[in-house]
Homo-oligomer: 250 residues x 2
């Protein structure tokens, strides 16, 4: 029996946003590996072992998955959203690079509905034109780089989606992010705070930049900042497909 | 009977990448509206009318959908990938804004697996760090703005995904895009050309920037440009989660 590792995206929370491709991999698995709340989404069954681990142990988790696959197990590493967007896929390849004897292992990455697209769909189409996605956490990069990318995103007039905007261990950085946005964008710029989209705890708020406060975000929130043309129609927020001439000003 | 409009993402092509949420909406629909190749993916059944239309008539298509919903029909507008990423959701809201009598219509946007995330999963995790998505078509925006955003994307050291890189009507622009990238990035920068991912015509090529030619892309291709740290491990391409200090250089 030859083992494998699948890194699967479970989507933002609702079960009807899990793709059939991911369901099929879960049905074939002998072992599920992942962060506690994601593994909690998998129904126990005979022949399936659940290995839940804490946050910030991504490399150890990847190693464990590769090791079990080398022993013939069929392992699914579960990620929230899409596994390639600020999630487990990169951690797996980092570990694969470090341990040459894992090189032969059969690996597949299965995409999922990432949080920013679920959030965008809920409010309309704020990412309907060019956009960027930035992880605001400085766990693995200097905060200077976050600020640098924020400014380029704003000056390029991209809509922007922010992952991990705020956590208990870094309560002040999102306030700084709002300061940078106020330097770069007009006060009426639309901002969407989308918390836990597609779960029972879903909460979505749309404000203008001058109304935004750091407390509007927590670690389960995706923040979407519109571009200069993003507007409301009724209760919806959308970015038109067309950009006027002269949009390239800085 | 009250009508509705759903804008649904069918994902990049494979049927097992269509979410159950989208399947359920398709099962309830009386009418399907969309671009010819996307409507062709919907199985005919009794009680369901298929309305396929040509490219570049997005606003007329949106109007038709809203009009039918106003008459009590249950209409699904089908998009490839995710409907909010360079697809039909924005067109729907543009039309909604123009025609106030459609304001009361029940609308839902259902996310899908967008092409760049399916392509990224196929090659590894090239979008595993901050990234941006740019529609290279200048049908609805000046090409200057494309170039402006390219430079900000590169200077922010974002990985970048390009939609609609090249078509018969604008064969020269992608050559210009490669020129701009060569001005902004090192020659060994990794580029992924991912054509028709998850379909029988899938073809994925990974090259370095100095090897890239305009002919590597066509209208069914998504192009992913790594950031300065994107690397290979075996046959995979991935972007590490961490960025070194000093990444913010321009």
């Amino acid at each position: 029996m030859s083992g494998w590792v699948v890194v699967a995206g479970l989507g933002p929370g609702a079960e009807d946003l899990v793709t059939p491709e991911v369901r099929a991999a879960l049905a074939q698995a002998t072992d599920i590996v992942g962060y506690i709340p994601y593994v909690a989404r998998i129904a126990p069954r005979e022949g399936l072992t659940l290995h839940a681990s804490d946050n910030r142990v991504e490399l150890e988790r990847a190693h464990h998955a590769l090791q079990m696959a080398a022993q013939g197990k069929r392992v699914v590493i579960v990620s929230s959203g899409d596994p390639g967007v600020f999630a487990m896929a990169s951690a797996l390849f980092e570990r694969l690079e470090e341990i040459p004897e894992f090189a032969h292992i059969d690996i597949r990455i299965l995409p999922g509905i990432t949080a920013m697209l679920a959030a965008a769909a809920r409010v309309g189409a704020p990412l309907g034109h060019d956009f960027c996605a930035i992880n605001l956490s400085d766990n693995l990069k200097p905060f200077d780089l976050v600020e640098h990318r924020l400014r380029h995103g704003a000056r390029g007039d991209f809509a922007m989606a922010f992952y991990n905007p705020r956590s208990k261990s870094r309560p002040h950085q999102f306030a700084r992010v709002l300061e940078v946005l106020r330097e770069e964008c007009e006060p009426t710029r639309l901002i969407v705070f989308a918390r836990a989209v597609s779960t029972p705890e879903e909460m979505v708020t749309v404000v203008t930049l001058d109304q935004a406060t750091p407390e509007m975000a927590d670690m389960r929130t995706v923040v979407i900042v519109g571009n200069s043309t993003t507007r409301r129609v009724g209760a919806w927020v959308y970015t038109p497909r067309s950009a006027p001439d002269g949009g390239a000003t800085s």
